[in-house]
């Protein structure tokens, strides 16, 4: 079976700092791929490359078998109609009501639809994320978690073949996390949708994933340090992976620095210390 997403040797630097360093992975139809890793490891950057918002320095990104890196605006727009994206902040248009936000992709891409049908579709999508009755509010009038759910409803408005979610469960209460997880699983299992989810919520990750990759920080910045099924990741021998999935403060990823040079770190190196008062 041909993979829906194929990423080959993806490289990207920002101001000389290599954030993504030769990533290679693929996602098959119906899979839910979870990308995990610590803050600042480049998870969201990978996602933004996959949706075509950023262009890589090197490498190929094939969606539905076509490389999106050399594509022009029009070709990219055609590919983009086939997937939905949930942004970290929800990214709703503040000037529109929630219903208009969800209706936006439908109105823009299938203008010939009857307004009543569009209205019905919008209500269905809002019902899916548990927000019936909120359709006439503006984004500024609802909470962060609700914005995220509206963002999800908008991403699903055109019944995409592929869904990208950036931290779909951050800021949601535990019940809503379960609802969103179940929604993702339903869509992938029943409708054959493919999902790529960036998250560091481990409960949710192990619940929905069929495949996982973990990006490294520090010396292994921008590289995949573990890849496999949830069961394989759980048993992975790398101490970095184990530290991450167990959520421990101490381990190979240093959070607490050495006590010995604590004072030096605070006041700078002794040779560069200010000399204008006697010691």
């Amino acid at each position: 079976m041909m993979p829906i997403i194929e990423v080959e040797n993806l490289v990207r630097s920002f101001r000389g700092r290599r954030v993504l360093d030769g990533l290679t992975f693929s996602v098959n139809k119906g899979d839910t791929m979870v990308i995990m890793g610590g803050s600042g490891c480049g998870k969201s950057t990978v996602l933004r490359h996959l949706i075509g918002s950023l262009k890589p320095d090197a490498g190929a990104i094939r969606l539905f078998g076509e490389d999106i890196v050399p594509m022009d605006e029009a070709a990219l727009a055609n590919t983009r109609r086939r997937f939905g994206v949930l942004f970290q902040s929800g990214a709703l248009l503040q000037s529109l009501t929630l219903a208009e936000n969800v209706a936006l992709p439908i109105v823009e891409h299938s203008a010939q639809l009857d307004p009543n049908i569009i209205d019905l579709m919008v209500k269905m999508k809002l019902e899916m994320v548990g927000l019936t009755g909120f359709d006439q509010l503006k984004p500024a009038e609802i909470s962060g978690g609700m914005k995220k759910r509206v963002g999800l409803a908008r991403a699903l408005a055109l019944d995409p073949e592929l869904l990208f979610s950036d931290e779909p469960t951050a800021g949601l209460d535990p019940i809503m996390v379960a609802v969103v997880d179940e929604l993702t699983m339903d869509l992938t299992k029943k409708l054959g949708m493919t999902a790529v989810v960036v998250t560091h919520d481990m409960t949710s990750a192990f619940r929905i994933a069929t495949k996982m990759i973990m990006l490294g920080t520090g010396p292994s910045q921008g590289k995949i340090i573990a890849a496999g099924t949830p069961a394989e990741i759980r048993e992975h021998e790398s101490p970095e992976v184990q530290q991450f999935i167990r959520g421990e403060a101490d381990g190979p990823t240093p959070l607490r620095m050495c006590q010995a040079d604590y004072v030096e770190r605070l006041i700078g190196h002794p040779r560069h210390r200010r000399r204008d008062f006697p010691s």
Partner: protein, 246 residues
């Protein structure tokens, strides 16, 4: 500059060529922007135009009295408003009120990932956001200018009628006799050029915002400063063109 030229090229494509190929811009959004940019600016524009009409008449009456040429006050007020002050002052009002608002709005959308979200939904931000604002400005600034001209001339009439004992019929006759249709047209040509400059600069600055709230603030300031500067330069060039070439 490069970004501004690119925006102009995209505007040409999405405002003129794309509708012919079945990708129209939103008429409803254009009307909504016309209200925001134009109609809401009416009170302020009329106040400014009225005060300028009044001061222009009073100042010129004072000087012309010395020459015994008070009869020429209506000519001066009408012609200077139509040709120069009407388009210029209304454009300044619109820059301060609507140009800055457009930059701040688009900049905030950029910072809030809204522009990126539109692109990812395969909705072109230029077609969706810029074209309605562009068309609204192109219609509303000249409309406001005509309105401002009328209010300004009414201000001139107030001074002539109540302070100079001009009667209304004489004022109207005098003003319409001296001012030609070309005076109005040259002012309108100017205001169309101003509209294009103001809205393209405002949109470009807004879409290129980087770096959070501070970036939005800087972009708004730059948008206002550059709009006023470019408008004054364009005004000088156009006046020179009308003066020497026509």
């Amino acid at each position: 500059m490069k970004a501004w030229l690119r925006l102009n090229r995209e505007l040409l494509h999405w405002a003129v060529l794309a509708p012919l190929r079945g990708q129209p811009w939103s008429v409803a959004e254009t009307f909504r922007q016309m209200i925001l940019i134009g109609v809401r600016a009416l009170p302020m524009a009329s106040l400014v135009a009225l005060s300028i009409g009044l001061t222009l008449a009073m100042q010129s009456a004072g000087e012309m009295r010395k020459l015994g040429a008070e009869a020429f006050v209506p000519d001066l007020v009408t012609i200077s408003l139509l040709r120069e002050l009407g388009p210029l002052l209304i454009a300044v009002i619109v820059i301060g009120r609507s140009g800055s608002a457009v930059t701040a709005e688009l900049g905030t959308m950029k910072v809030g990932e809204e522009i990126e979200a539109l692109e990812v939904m395969a909705i072109n931000p230029v077609r969706f956001l810029v074209v309605p604002r562009f068309l609204a400005m192109l219609v509303m600034l000249p409309a406001l200018t005509v309105f401002g001209d009328c209010v300004g001339i009414a201000g001139g009439w107030l001074v002539c009628h109540f302070a100079l004992d001009y009667n209304t019929a004489a004022f109207i006759l005098r003003a319409s006799d001296r001012a030609s249709a070309w005076d109005l047209w040259s002012g309108l040509v100017k205001s169309v050029v101003f509209a294009w400059l103001i809205i393209t600069i405002a949109c470009q600055r807004g879409l290129d915002v980087e770096g959070g709230a501070e970036g939005v603030g800087n972009a708004t300031t730059e948008s206002v400063v550059w709009s006023i500067l470019m408008m004054l330069i364009a005004n000088a060039v156009l006046t020179g063109f009308f003066f020497f070439a026509i």
